[in-house]
Amino acid sequence: MERSPVFDERDLPLLYVLPGLFVFTTFMLFPVVYLVGISLTNATPSTLFTGEGAVSVLTFGESTIVGLENYTDVLSDSAFWNSFGVTWLFVATSVVAKICLSVAIALVVTSNRVRGKRLLRSLIILPMGLPAIFTITVWRGIFSSAEFGLMNQLLTMLSLDPVTWLSGRWTAFFAYNITEVWLSYPFMVIITVSALQDVPSELHEAAMVDGAGYIARFLHVTLPAIKRPVLFASILTAAASFQQFLIPYVFNKGGPARANELIVVYGYREALAFSEYGRGAAISLVAVIFIGAFMWVNVKRGRLAEGVAEQ
């Protein structure tokens, strides 16, 4: 039978996929297009939401088009660069801390000396089963400067002075990092543990025969074997850190005085808390471009979508 190049009776199963694809693109793609539109206008709630229905949606209410002014404004604003810098710093510090902690935990729960490893392993990844909003509000309580905040109780116990964690710039940043690490170490541990279990025990035995100590074996046998999976997990978790919204928002809305607004929070607050829709949209788009570029490079280089290519 001759197959038409465009559409064919055999392509009918596409109809099963189309509803999902349609709904998904309506709710993801349309807001993207709309966001691009808003970012080119000077929209504020008073101008954007005048007028009714579909027509005013397409003309952005009564806001006027200002071209790329928002982008030049944003890119020459020191607040933007502050947020941009804090975001990358947050990605760097939290990812390094996550890798160190997770590899350490994974080494402990796969060690031959430790008994009850199965139970320990299922306990250790428990935080993964908790809703993010629960974990983050609880950590918000831990770092609270109100009475009975856990961190300050521990400090008092060590006869140190309590700290107003969320009112200082770097103490708040520290609190973000601790929470981010606790939030996502289970994911890293799962991957590292399965990588560690794939390291052939003959290699370790051979190294031991050669008289290699624990550290030498870790550096020359374990590390090369787990490098790739850990790197892979780090890339994914770095992307998650870059997009972290809930921690700064729940802790102190990116404060004190907007100093710690990670880039997604910055865009969100600029639009919805300070009514600068155009600027907020421009910031968000810059963030999306960065996430997209980051993921694109990794999909290409790390062959993330290998499974698809095989199909």
């Binding site: 559409f7 199963p13 596409l14 099963y16 509803p19 999902g20 709904v23 998904f24 709710f27 993801m28 807001p31 297009v33 709309y34 808003i38 005013s56 949606v57 402990v108 000396r113 009850g116 139970l119 320990l120 299922s122 250790i124 990844i125 428990l126 935080p127 993964m128 089963g129 809703p131 993010a132 909003i133 629960f134 509000t137 609880v138 309580g141 831990i142 609270s144 400067s145 109100a146 009975f148 109780q153 969320l166 799962i190 997990a233 994914l236 992307a239 998650a240 870059f242 997009q243 102190n252 969100y268 968000s284 999306v288 996430i291 993921m295 062959r303 979508a305 290998e306 499974g307 698809v308």
Partner: protein, 360 residues
């Protein structure tokens, strides 16, 4: 049925795990003691093992201490104080369930009057149902209980439509992607995989656009509108997950059914769907949890009346004072069922993680 049986098996394995570990440990201790006594094992070996295991236990306790602390805070009337004049106190003093009663609130089915008109007459029969008091918290000294029940209702009425809408979008698509060959199939799969990686943060970045559109169409503060959004965001990941699951069903079953002359719809309802029951259950849980735990969009779009549980939880925390006991009890009541579901579905969820190419 098989899902139910598997669930029972999982629960049983999870419950028996500590028992097994305890028995194994006992056996091993006995073996080691004998070995040391007979001089076969140098005494330093078991000591090292003991030390490492103790170290590992300390590590786990430190890592999970926040969870223990929140439980402690919920049970003690003073609220989360681990430091007292007598030093460290890790057990609640005067444990009370009052905070939990505050969360749950009254459980009273009010009295209803049901009037029925008898046709063709002017008579009516009126039934009055009795008031059923299951729990009256004011008896236990709790005034002004929380809005938990209202939040719960809102969460349910957001999560259930999310599940229904997303399942009806996901199941046919997963079937087609797994079993059929058609135009753009690979492109669609590629987009879906890409979206599972960047979906979350993109969602918040796009929130401004979404919010503006919702305001224009006047559907902010609409629970159904929110469900529709959740369903849309759940499509890529879950379609991919279910498709991968369906790929594992041998094609020979279908071929046998075709030989026996079964029509296509019967192949789907009697082979594909029953055999992918576990995959369907996983997708069900995931889509349900999407609506159940999402915070940012719900907080942006919904008004106070329609707050879901996560938004309700957040509204309890303020900068300089936190009602510790109540906050903790609320948080635990919200999170514990999810944690239990996770514990028993752990294997599937970890299996779902490996899809993203981690093995490669």
């Amino acid at each position: 049925m098989s899902v139910y049986r598997r669930l029972v098996r999982n629960v049983r394995t999870a419950c028996l795990l500590p028992v097994h570990i305890f028995l194994d440990t006992c056996r091993e201790i006995g073996y080691t003691v004998n070995g040391v006594r007979r001089g076969e094992i140098p005494p330093s070996q078991p000591l090292k093992t003991l030390g490492s295991t103790a170290g590992a236990l300390v590590m786990v306790s430190v890592l999970l201490f926040p969870i223990y602390w929140i439980l402690l805070a919920a049970l003690s009337p003073t609220g989360g104080s681990i430091y007292s004049s007598s030093g460290l106190s890790l057990l609640p003093s005067n444990p009370t369930v009052q905070p939990f009663l505050w969360v749950v609130g009254d459980l009273i089915v009010p009295a209803y009057s049901i009037a029925m008109n008898i046709p063709a007459t002017n008579l009516a029969v009126v039934f009055t149902t009795p008031e059923i008091v299951l729990l009256d918290v004011s008896q236990y000294g709790v005034q002004n209980p929380s809005n938990f029940k209202q939040f719960l209702w809102n969460s349910i009425t957001v999560a259930i439509p999310t599940v229904i809408i997303s399942m009806s979008l996901i199941v046919p698509a997963a079937y087609a992607l797994s079993r059929k060959e058609f135009i753009f199939r690979r492109e669609i799969l590629f987009v879906y995989v890409l979206m599972t990686q960047i979906g979350g943060g993109l969602g918040i970045a796009l929130l401004i656009g979404l919010y503006a559109v919702y305001v224009q169409f006047g559907i902010t503060d609409s629970k159904l509108g929110l469900s529709l959004y959740y369903a849309a965001t759940a499509v890529p990941f879950n379609t991919w997950l279910l498709k991968t699951y369906m790929d594992g069903i041998p094609a020979s079953y279908e071929e046998a059914a075709v030989v026996d002359g079964a029509p296509p719809w019967r192949i789907v309802t009697e082979i594909i769907l029953p055999l992918s029951a576990a995959g369907l259950a996983t997708v069900f849980i995931f889509t349900f949890l999407t609506g159940w735990t999402e915070f940012v969009v719900a907080q942006t779009l919904l008004g106070t009346e329609n707050y879901t549980l996560p938004v309700g939880l957040f509204s309890l925390v303020s900068e300089y004072s936190i009602p510790w006991a109540r906050f903790s009890a609320f948080a635990l009541t919200f999170a514990t069922p999810i944690m239990l579901v996770y514990l028993f579905a752990q294997r599937y969820i970890e299996g779902g993680l490996s899809f993203s190419g981690i093995e490669g």
